[in-house]
Amino acid sequence: MTLITYLMRVHFADGVLEEALRSEMERHGKRRPLIISSKNQLDGPNAERLFSSFPIRTRPETFVDTPAQATEAAALDIAQHYADKNCDHLIALGSTAVIDLAKAARLAISFDEPLAALSREEGGSTRIDASLPGLFAVPDISGFASAVSDYSRVRLKSGDQILLFSKFLRPSVTICDPTLALGTAPAVCASAVSGIIGRGVDAYLSRNYNPPADGLALDGVSRITSHLARIVEDDSLATRRETMAGALNSALSLQKGLCVIHAICQAIASVPETPIDVNAVARLIMPGLVDFYGDATNGKTEALKRHMRIDRKTPLADGLAEMMQGFPLPDRLSDMGLTGGDLTTAAQRAARDRAITTGPRPIGQRDIEEILAAVH
């Protein structure tokens, strides 16, 4: 089936955007969407397709002031807009940050209290229920980490970052159309691929027990690495489809829970005020992290190497580094403007994140600092 329903409704097929969106809106009886997307996306070709697909009598509204990372302030703006315009559901088109923002907006629409009160840090997850407004997610190639997951990372007005977590945050429907990825710039693709590999590898190595998620993680990285030689540059539909399939499976493997790589990357992103590409960070620290795990992975690195076509004699860390070498992304953390002090702060924050405990070997603040310093 092209409609996948393991966790939620996911349409995955070439050119499916128009009919899937229209059919799902009819199915849910919705005619007043608030579309959340970046201005660039809404000025682009994918938006034309989105707007030509609505059922009759649809009156769409738009919100384009989307920040590079989801923020509480933007979520509150959306909630106000949603109420003012009498909207009846949300459509998020684009990246992980856009879909994360839409998830936060669902909470801002449904609850009158600050988002922090609903965060995992404040024990708010259990209060999030099925009463949230519907969310249809249409991810681009870098939107999958949020498009099929239970999580949203949001920066508060105070500058602090919170984790929103609930199965009710999953989009009502996710529409994956590989034709939307045609024309993706190589740097954007390289970033997305780094994220897919990072999530898949760390999910598979996680100590948490979830056999289906293990299978999804292996398949995700396998699909990506089998096309790796051309995946960044090749704009053919077959390659884009395979990249999206790998992204989907890698993101679905988050059902094992957020992992070490997530804790470290998000901690780094939380430090500077300027936006940081967490996938570019994952590319740099993944080899060091896997090297740190060493023999604690109970032979799982061998399975990963087989699926990623890494020679038996080559250590996984070296194979990963070689695989992502030459991507049009920064080669050092310092190239992203991060200072030594930023890394110390990030290591402190990462060490306090519950996700840091999921790795095959306990990792502390000093270990994290060493991994970061090696690629600074």
Partner: protein, 275 residues
């Protein structure tokens, strides 16, 4: 002139029994289509360039948006056909291929005993002309039986390029959006072509190349969909529906509806049932 003997609307689409005494010109619509011969004069469908006889041995399967036409002998006895309009969601929930999610595998369906059985059961419900709990199930299984058969015999079709081609020109994409937003207004095609930066002939050529049908047919399809929805879900009069869609009079709306849907709007409302 065509006459509708029965129209049933259900969860997966709608089914009709039509009495047809004239050919139907090339058109296309969002729904997939299955057309079965029920009696009277035999005919022939042209589906995307392939000819499919409509008789006791074969039926036609038409994918969403695929242009098709119906031809039959002029004069003589009418043709009777069971016609299914299958919503795109049916294809999305049942397709097996990420490349051809909204397609039948081939346009010709053989009337195997299994297909005959399902069509017979569906026709019985339609001829009873009463709402039936069985309708949705029969429509689903008839479609499934034909869908599976169509893919068993499907040659490997290089549709990849056509999917890619459909969205490749920004002017066509733009025109689709404009038509979607303004189909209730009178928007001359010259004006629409100018608005997307093309001459009228170039616009028609490009649109047809990418979408498989002319912009006129596309716009007609949007208006016909709206009209059917209004007829089925509102208490608006036929005149009101026509005026809301930008027609100057009930007569011009009735002419439009009859030529695009097959029967006049008053007949449609009279015989159509929601299941």
């Amino acid at each position: 002139m065509a006459r509708a003997i029965s129209v049933h609307h259900g969860s997966f689409g709608r089914a009709t029994i039509y009495e047809l005494d004239k050919p139907l010109t090339t058109h296309a619509h969002r729904e997939g289509h299955l057309i079965f011969y029920l009696g009277g004069a035999k005919g022939q469908l042209t589906v995307g360039g392939t000819e499919v006889p409509l008789d006791e041995t074969s039926a036609a399967a038409i994918s969403p948006w695929e242009p098709h036409s119906f031809d039959r002998p002029s004069g003589g006895e009418p043709s009777f056909a069971v016609t299914l309009y299958i919503k795109p969601m049916w294809f999305l929930e049942n397709s097996k291929s990420a490349e051809f999610a909204l397609n039948f595998g081939a346009p010709k369906i053989h009337m195997t005993p299994a297909v005959e059985t399902w069509v017979g059961r569906l026709a019985s419900v339609l001829l009873d002309n009463q709402p039936s709990d069985h309708f949705d199930g029969f429509l689903f299984e008839t479609t499934q039986e034909c869908f599976v058969q169509s893919w068993q015999e499907a040659p490997s079709r290089p549709l990849l390029n056509s999917v890619q081609r459909k969205f490749s020109d920004f002017r066509v994409r733009r025109s689709l959006r404009v038509m979607q937003e303004r189909y209730t207004e009178e928007t001359p095609m010259d004006e629409l072509a100018r608005e997307v930066g093309l001459s009228r002939p170039h616009f028609f050529k490009l649109f047809k190349m990418q979408m498989g049908l002319t912009p006129n047919l596309y716009l007609n399809m949007l208006r016909a969909e709206h009209a059917i929805d209004d007829l089925m879900t509102t208490s608006k009069s036929v005149t009101e529906i026509g005026l809301d869609l930008g027609f100057a009079s009930q007569a011009s709306f009735t002419r439009f509806f009859t030529s695009n849907v097959g029967i006049p709007p008053t007949d449609y409302r009279r015989v159509a049932h929601f299941v």
